[in-house]
């Protein structure tokens, strides 16, 4: 608890020792008064002020209270009192410092944890979806703008009173170059979702589900959403890209949370994992909610790029999720729940050969 600046802390130490000295005489309780002064200095000032107040108190104690003439028989008692007083003040100082350090380190790690939570929960949505979309749009827009200008320039050379074929040809060649660049950018984006760019490792789907629930716990409790999990214990691990699969599950769960934000009554997010019933070598994951459900008459469109029912949505989440699942050789589809809500079904083969 660092509430005062350094200078203020030392000032406080001096003032509290002064007050203690002034009070100690009349009520004849020097140790209590000085102990209090040391405590106050340590609590609000920190280690330095605390040590200063110990020194000041010891001086004052020794000078004003032990310095008084006393019968020789009491000399040793006085010294003992002084020693005990000194030990007590130092002990208080040390304890205060230990406590403060513990508090500081706890609040630092809490802050770091909170930040990590927030960052991870939004990494998928904001960074990957939003920024990727924006920078992709910018990258593709650039050559398209150049192509439009070059095509118009070409027309201008051709439609002059004396058409200039050479200039027109040059402009047309630039159009071809522009369009080729746009196509290259698109093909690079495609590659991102291809197998080659993925980091394949053995992944435990249940572990990913649990991790994502932990990450979203705060959001879930803020929205008063109960989570129910039915995770099959003996699931085989699958070969896949852990981060991409995390993104898919995170995205489905965030969609469910958003779908339940404005509904009355029961809010429940259910996540199941099991072996697919008909095919042994497939895993099935089900994410279902009691939210607003799929948009009527438009259920097929939810996986289209740029289709969104949210005011702040990018319309890329489900599109990208489906691409990721398909690149793992699996399928992702949605059904309506009764009486309300939606379910997202995700199958992924556990055999490597099944990959596309």
């Amino acid at each position: 608890m660092k509430v005062l600046s350094n200078l203020q802390g030392y000032g406080l130490a001096i003032i509290s020792c002064g007050v203690a000295l002034a009070l100690a005489g009349p009520i004849d309780a020097p140790s209590s008064c000085f102990l209090l002064a040391v405590t106050v200095s340590g609590l609000f000032g920190g280690l330095g002020p605390s040590l200063l107040s110990v020194a000041l108190s010891a001086l004052a104690f020794a000078y004003f209270f032990l310095g008084r003439p006393s019968p020789p028989a009491r000399e040793s008692t006085s010294l003992l009192r002084f020693a005990v007083f000194l030990a007590a003040t130092l002990l208080i100082t040390v304890l205060m410092e230990i406590k403060r350090r513990a508090e500081e380190s706890r609040s630092r790690s809490e802050e770091a944890l909170r930040q990590a939570h927030a960052e991870l929960a939004h990494a998928n949505r904001v960074t990957t979806m939003g920024e990727l979309t924006a920078s992709l749009a910018h990258e593709v827009n650039q050559p398209i703008a150049a192509a439009v200008t070059d095509a118009n320039t070409c027309l201008r050379w051709l439609t002059r009173d004396h058409p200039d074929i050479d200039e027109a040809r040059e402009a047309a060649m630039r159009v071809a170059k522009d369009a080729t660049r746009a196509a290259e950018i698109i093909s690079k984006v495609r590659q991102i979702f291809k197998k080659g760019a993925q980091q394949r490792e053995l992944v435990d789907v249940n572990e990913i589900i649990r991790e994502m629930i932990v990450l979203l716990r705060k959001e879930l409790s803020r929205q008063s959403i109960a989570v129910r999990t039915e995770l099959a214990a003996d699931l085989p691990r699958l070969m896949g890209d852990r981060v991409q699969l995390q993104q898919v599950l995170m995205n489905l769960m965030i969609n469910s949370i958003d779908a339940m934000k404005n509904v009355e009554g029961k809010r429940e997010l259910t996540i199941k994992s099991q072996r697919a019933q008909d095919e042994d070598e497939q895993l099935l994951v089900l994410v279902s909610d009691t939210g607003v459900g799929l948009p009527p008459q438009q259920a097929d469109h939810i996986f289209n790029a740029f289709f969104t029912t949210k005011t702040d949505g990018t319309g890329m989440g489900l599109r990208i999720s489906r691409s990721i699942v398909e690149s793992h050789g699996g399928r992702l589809w949605a059904t309506d729940n009764h009486p309300r809500g939606a379910s997202f079904h995700l199958t992924i083969p556990t055999k490597i050969e099944a990959h596309e």
Binding site: A134, A137, H138, N141, Q142, P143, I144, A145, A146, A147, V148, T149, D150, N152, T153, R156, W157, E167, E170, A171, R174, K177, D178, R181
Partner: protein, 125 residues
């Protein structure tokens, strides 16, 4: 490119090579000589500011941005009629550019005729 009339030079500052080529080609097709620069720094170091009658600049570029270039030119009392073209201009950016003396602010892809109209107007003044 030959500079026929020094005071009629149009400068194009854009980090995108295709865009520079497209703008230069467009200007050539209406008989306007131009010179292109890949960055704001390159333009400032070229010493061509005083001969430039009209500047077409991108906003977002590596290094100095188009708006910073405009501020730098203003600071040098080098008032070149400036047309900004940008892929993602918001209203705030637009207002800032126009307040600082830009004559036009166009979104990519832009209308050629609108851009040429602004260039001609800048050259006539």
């Amino acid at each position: 490119m030959a500079i026929q009339e020094k005071n009629k030079l149009v400068a194009v500052v854009d980090d995108d090579e295709l865009m520079r080529g497209a703008l230069q080609g467009m200007l050539k097709s209406v008989g306007l000589p131009s010179q292109t620069f890949a960055s704001a720094e390159e333009f400032l170091n070229s010493g061509q500011q005083r001969q430039t009658a009209c500047l077409i600049a991108d906003i977002r570029m590596p290094g100095m941005s188009g708006l910073e270039l405009q501020a730098q030119l203003n600071a040098e009392h080098c008032r070149i009629p400036t047309i900004f073209i940008t892929a993602h201009g918001d209203t705030k950016m637009r207002m800032q550019a126009l307040r600082a003396g830009a004559v036009e602010f166009l979104a990519k892809p832009f209308d050629d005729e609108a851009l040429l109209g602004s260039v001609r107007a800048a050259l006539e003044n």
